[in-house]
């Protein structure tokens, strides 16, 4: 019975997107119920799949229309759900559910909402389909639907000029990516006459000629563009800023994960080229440059959502660096970070949406002091900021810690000094992430409350529920890493590192052995942690010392000075100390923080400032440039 769950999940989403147009165009309640039902069904199905796939290690294969492979040749479209795709499917369905829940209230101010929900459900259906499919061409179709739904969602608020321009840029670069992927698929089909991923990876083992290498490069570029790595990342920044927040949360949470999923599938399972150190160096350098560039661009942003967009690019850089290492530890760090990234990045985008919904603007220089008016959003934001910058008890830290170990262990094993520098850059980038989020905290939530925001109210309850769900998930994944690792990450890593099982399940047993002539050195799945980090015992100690501290504080309560604060705003004692001046409006805005840092790196900031020119043909040029780099690299090293 569980064979049918993957197809069921994808179909409910596509079906619902058509139903929404038919019935939901006029009244809100029908539209809301259809969306919520469509959003919860896949989540429930995927959770039911955890037991068989993750714990029992079973790999589900499902042939659409029951087109079983005939004497070794796969003709029909096969869906294959192994631990890796289920891991990503879980992330994707969770984001869909929360984004749909959030958008009910958040989008209520816009009009023509049925168009929004159609596009949103198409986007989510395509992403889920991409993650679950086992067929290369089906993968390409899902990428097509995905790109166009995302472009249309970015341009949803077409009354302003920003979204239109961003959508156009996204369209141009997205279509370059999709066309490259299409040519790659065609070349592979011409060589191997099959489209099923399992069969392709089996047949590719006996010799790779130049066409398959070129196909590999095409596919790699296509997926990298989808994951918005270094040269093409400005497109993502504009798209996430311009899209409505619930959509940009879905974009930042799911869509760049599909690029990462594609790269993992391509490198580890289809072409199995991850063993070559040359490919590792390429992927790690790309990841590091993305990481560093993303954060430094985020440091001098003036808009809340644009800052978050650049951060999601730098976090994807982290994930790609970890995956590029090729070791089991690196892979587990990367996957763990991908999950964490979806959680805290989604939450931060929801906070940005809440601020936009109540205060009306996300410009860092005009906002201020919202903590008093929106306390819950402030708490949620702080949890998100602490997790993204890797403060220990929260979830960002565990995955970053795993990534540091992976890179440094890889460095000391291969004696390659470059990976040690990667660890150093990773730590510095994490501190700069902390810096930019302190900037946002100071300029949006603390500091002086400008007069125009006096009547700002807290975000409505239905927007806060998804935020609280994500906050709790962030804390849970941060505090219980060993359980999360054992049930979610380890099966996924094992699935990635054992392509033979993937092929056999799909094509029938013994299929892979015919082709795997040379003994494929199965990459060791052992994960030896160099250090140790038990957050539960740390938290236990923290609580004990905290309890001791509060007891000591209560003991001396009556002798201590009284704690006083005034309810009404009195001039004098409780006013802020302006060295005596009256309380004239002198506040420290977001943009004039970190003077020392920006002054020292001013040439660097100037240089990357004008790289992001915002001109479409620059971005297209960058996309083609990265394709050229990949081709040259592949033909030097892989042939």
């Amino acid at each position: 019975m569980i064979q049918h769950f993957p197809v069921l999940a994808i179909m409910t989403l596509f079906l619902a997107s058509f139903l929404v147009v038919l019935f939901g165009s006029r009244n809100k309640i029908v539209r809301g119920t259809i969306t919520m039902v469509a959003a919860t069904v896949p989540l429930v199905l995927m959770i039911c799949l955890i037991k068989p796939v993750m714990i029992d290690g079973q790999v589900i294969s499902y042939w659409l229309g029951n087109w079983e492979p005939v004497n070794g040749w796969a003709i029909g479209i096969g869906l294959e759900v192994d631990a890796l795709s289920l891991f990503f499917a879980l992330i994707v369905t969770l984001t869909i559910f929360l984004s749909a829940f959030y958008s009910l209230k958040y989008m209520s101010r816009d009009d023509t909402l049925e168009k929004y929900y159609v596009l949103f459900l198409m986007l989510s259906g395509a992403v889920l389909g991409l993650v679950l499919t086992g067929d290369l061409f089906n993968l390409f179709i899902m990428i097509e639907i995905l790109t166009f739904a995302a472009v249309a969602l970015t341009a949803f608020r077409n009354n302003e000029d920003g979204p239109l321009e961003a959508a156009f840029k996204y369209l141009v670069v997205g279509s370059i990516g999709s066309s490259l992927t299409l040519t790659g698929v065609i070349l592979l089909y011409s060589q191997l006459h099959t489209l099923n991923m399992a069969q392709i990876s089996a047949m590719l083992q006996n010799g790779q000629n130049s066409t398959t290498v070129f196909a590999f490069v095409l596919l790699l570029t296509g997926f990298s563009i989808k994951a918005f790595i270094v040269p093409v990342h400005p497109v993502a920044a504009d798209a996430y800023t311009a899209a409505p927040t619930s959509a940009s949360m879905a974009l930042a949470g799911m869509v760049n994960k599909t690029g990462v999923y594609g790269i993992i599938r391509l490198l580890y399972i289809i072409f199995m080229t991850m063993g070559l150190s040359s490919v590792q160096n390429l992927i790690v350098t790309i990841g590091t440059v993305t990481m560093f560039l993303g954060v430094t661009m985020a440091l001098n942003q003036h808009d809340f959502k644009r800052l978050l967009a650049f951060h999601s690019i730098s976090q994807i850089g982290y994930v790609i660096t970890a995956i590029g290492l090729g070791t089991a530890l690196g892979l587990s760090g990367g996957l763990y970070h991908a999950m964490n990234h979806t959680l805290f990045k989604g939450m931060l985008f929801l906070c940005a949406g809440a601020v936009l919904y109540s205060a009306g603007t996300t410009n860092l220089d005009r906002l201020g002091g919202l903590a008093k008016k929106m306390p819950q959003t402030c708490i949620i934001f702080l949890i998100g900021a602490f997790s993204i910058s890797g403060i220990p008890p929260f979830n960002g830290f565990v995955s970053k810690w795993l990534i540091y170990q992976a890179t440094y262990e890889r460095a000391s094993q291969t004696g390659n000094f470059g990976f040690a520098l990667v660890t150093v850059i990773a730590v510095v980038v994490s501190v700069m992430t902390l810096a930019s989020f302190i900037k946002v905290t100071q300029s949006v939530f603390f500091g002086e409350l400008p007069a125009e925001f006096n009547n700002v109210k807290e975000a409505p309850v239905s927007m806060r529920i998804p935020m609280w769900i994500m906050a709790i998930l962030c804390i849970v994944t941060g505090v219980l890493p060993s359980q999360v690792y054992q049930y979610l990450i380890r099966p996924a890593v094992n699935a990635v590192l054992s392509p033979v099982k993937y092929i056999n399940v799909m094509m029938g047993n013994g299929y892979a052995e015919q082709f795997l002539s040379k003994a494929q050195a199965a990459p060791d799945k052992s994960v030896a942690l160099a250090g140790y980090w038990q957050p539960e015992s740390w938290l236990l100690l923290f609580i004990i010392v905290l309890a001791a501290f509060t007891v000591a504080a209560l003991l001396g309560k009556k002798d201590r000075g009284v704690q006083s604060s005034s309810a009404e705003v009195t001039d004098g004692k409780y006013a802020t100390f302006y060295s005596g001046e009256k309380n004239e409006f002198s506040r420290v805005g977001g943009s004039d923080l970190f003077w020392g840092l920006k002054y020292n790196l001013r040439h660097y900031f100037g240089f990357i400032g004008n790289i992001h020119s915002g001109v479409v043909n620059d971005y297209a040029l960058w996309a083609v440039m990265i394709f050229a780099v990949y081709t040259v690299f592949a033909f030097i090293f892989l042939l």
Binding site: L555, G556, D559, R560, G561, V562, D571, G572, K573, A575, F577, S579, G580, E581, K582
Partner: protein, 148 residues
């Protein structure tokens, strides 16, 4: 339970905050001279702090000019509770040579109750140390009856 301990320690670490409400800086450099190696008020725990929020003893020097009047009042209000106001030199006492000028608003005790006044037009550092020691004792008495 800790009351006696806290009262004893209040006299041992009085922190000074200096307000210059129009002084000719004669008294200011005398006050800072007290912290130099020769007179070293830090032996008794005195420390110059930057904000009124951290201060215990507020040392005011200079006749209260009209510009600095409301700033002076607001700053002194912002000091947490057991506080002592010390007037340094004769200007805050009676705005000596500047008496009757259009911009001087008169002696300090028109605005704030002055606890200790150290006279002398630029009082000798020893006198300043005595003044501060007296202020610290008054601080402790204030703390003692404040805590009751």
């Amino acid at each position: 339970m800790f009351k006696k301990l806290i009262d004893d320690c209040t006299v041992k670490s009085p922190w000074i905050y200096h307000i210059n409400s129009g002084s000719c800086n004669g008294c200011d450099i005398e006050l800072v001279a007290v912290l130099t190696p020769r007179y070293d008020a830090e032996r008794f725990g005195f420390k110059l702090v930057g904000t009124p929020r951290h201060a215990d003893i507020i040392v005011v020097s200079g006749p209260v000019t009209s510009q600095s009047r409301d700033r002076l009042i607001r700053t002194i209000e912002q000091v947490p509770d057991p506080k002592v106001v010390v007037s340094l030199g004769s200007c805050p006492r009676s705005c000596n040579v500047f008496k009757g000028s259009y911009s001087v608003e008169g002696p300090l005790d028109k605005f704030v109750k002055v606890d200790v006044s150290v006279a002398g037009c630029a009082p000798k550092p020893e006198a300043v140390i005595d003044g501060l020691a007296l202020a610290a004792k008054i601080l402790e008495e204030k703390r003692r009856n404040m805590a009751k």
